[in-house]
Amino acid sequence: MRATLAWAALRRHPMRTLLAVFGLAIAAALLLDMVMLATGMRASFRSLLTSQGYQLRVTPKGTLPFDTEASVGGAAALVASLRSHPDVARVSPSLGTTVQAQRGEQAVSAFALGTNADVQGEYTLLAGREPSMPADSTIREAIVNATFLTRLGVSLGDTVDLSTERSAQLRQSGRRGRVVIVGEARFLYVPPGLPALSTPLGALQHFLGTSGRDRMSLAMASVRVDGLDAAAQRDRIERVRLWIETEHSRVTAISTETAIVQVEERLAYFRQLAFILGALSLVIGVLLVTTLVSLSVNERLGELAVLRAIGVPRAGVLQQIMLEGLMLGLAGITIGLGLGLVTARWLNTILRDFPGLPADLDFFVWSGEAAWKSLAMLLIAATFAGAIPAWRASRVRVAQALREEAVA
């Protein structure tokens, strides 16, 4: 019966209720979006970093992976040392550089990645096969991304000329090679729109000559964590990380957690914006419900006094008014959920245009838990926003209210 009364009270002023629900829906949508933004970057980046099973990234001292053109020498020995650690399951070294790719009159600057196909965690093969490592280390085969194929107008099986640098004076390229495109891949950490290719690490090192000899830009290490709980996994990874930094002073070992923290530092603005706007949307929701319910209670003080007079207890009146807040909240949140998902997709499309970000990095990521927690928070806030007017309504002095109602 209380639900009936609450529902009836909301239906009494449809325009008012509609506006309140719409306002709450926008507040809910904004809150959902901001929660998705605040948690999404982290979740997306974590998913990106852990998608290939590597928990540690080893880079030249003081750098982030491929953040600069820095590389570290003695790669083979370093990788062998890493592999020798009993808790390290596998290591994937890679070397990144910029090369010129040319076919006929078409030429592009491309990101070239040298890595070993059996352990690589940089790309997923979409078509064709992995490039093979020739016995003489000469660069012969490569896999490329879709942008590379489009920009150069080539397809699988075509041959492309590569060169390391060009001399304007001599009108000559630096080191040169010719590769056959044997596969198409999606490079996980390469921004969309940047042509990229990958060859076996040894082949690329050989191709680069002295500047590439036995060098690598990054080594990813997978730590054995099977059977360990989350805390123990973190402990083991941290132990291996510390071991690497102690043993090898030329490198920095970055765990997934650290990498996430560093990226979050750079994108702190978005998290804080999300927090502020999320809080604002909560405040708007609460204010909206408080105002609406307060006015509704003021208008119905006589009615509520009659309810009390005919035997409805204070708790009953309190519940009924709070039910109104709950119903408004439920309706607003239901609509807000859909609205939030649509706007999140739109906002994500805008932010994914950021230059230099990996194609798979999302800013707004749906998380059921985060969504229900935030929306439940709004629902609770909306319900309790009605609590103050509801409390006032429940404390109405019946005889006085009836007297005043009779005079009015």
Partner: protein, 245 residues
């Protein structure tokens, strides 16, 4: 004038009840010491000019309000110092209230309005629906159960209010100017309904300006300036001066 015999089967007993309240800057002495006994089955009309304290007395008798001084006993129980929850429970189960302006819930149908106190009393939905329909038939509105208050005439609304007051089979029906918003014919129909209820054994106490309604009562209590000035049986009709505002 015939004195009241208050010794047998007393339902209500008010002793030296005083009540005052603030109205803006001033204090209104609504009741200045009222004593009154009502036995079961009586049909009592309380009359008097506006501000004479009749509505305040009605509120005290129905545990809507509490006296500042004195005591009110209902069915042998002192109700002048009940907690809010106790007073609410008493009103829900033992007292039926009817108001001048009906005060039906505008968003509920006639049937839902009558079912409301029963729902509050925890009666099962099927049982309360059946009883609400029976009560609406009793007040002559069996065909209008689904109508909202705004779709009913004043007389019909007041009959729904009476049905609502009867929902939990109260021992006492209190009505504050029940015919105040009704025309003469509709008022007469309502008076007939109240008399029928009284004939069926329900104790009715009414506050009224309506001479016709007052004359239909077995007992008329006249108030002036917060005091009872006359307490008479129906064979002694109140004068126009007693009733007129």
């Amino acid at each position: 004038m015939k004195p009241i015999n208050g010794t047998s089967d007393v339902l209500l007993d008010a002793r030296d009840v005083k009540r005052e309240y603030r109205a803006g800057e001033s204090t209104v002495h609504a009741l200045r010491g009222v004593s009154l006994t009502i036995t079961r089955g009586e049909f009592v009309a309380i009359v008097g000019a506006s501000g004479s304290g009749k509505s305040t007395l009605l509120h005290l008798l129905g545990a809507v309000d509490a006296p500042d001084v004195g005591s009110v006993t209902f069915e042998g129980r002192d109700i002048s110092h009940l907690s809010d929850a106790e007073a609410t429970r008493l009103r829900l189960l033992r007292v039926g209230l009817v108001f001048q302006r009906f005060y039906l819930m505008p968003t509920l149908s006639a049937l839902e309005n009558v079912m409301l106190p029963m729902a509050e009393a925890g009666i099962a939905p099927a049982a309360r629906r059946a009883r609400a329909e029976e009560l609406l038939r009793y007040v002559g509105l069996g065909e209008r159960t689904g109508h909202r208050p705004t779709q009913l005439s004043g007389g019909e609304q007041q009959r729904v209010a009476v049905a609502r007051a009867l929902a939990n089979q109260p021992a006492l029906l209190l009505a504050d100017e029940p015919t105040g918003e009704l025309d003469a014919a509709t008022g007469a129909a309502l008076i007939a309904l109240l008399q029928r209820l009284n004939a069926d054994g329900l104790t009715c106490v009414l506050v009224t300006h309506d001479a016709a309604l007052a004359q239909s009562a077995q007992r008329v209590i006249t108030m002036r300036d917060g005091r009872i000035v006359h307490d008479t049986r129906s064979d002694t009709a109140p004068t126009a001066g007693d009733i007129a505002p």
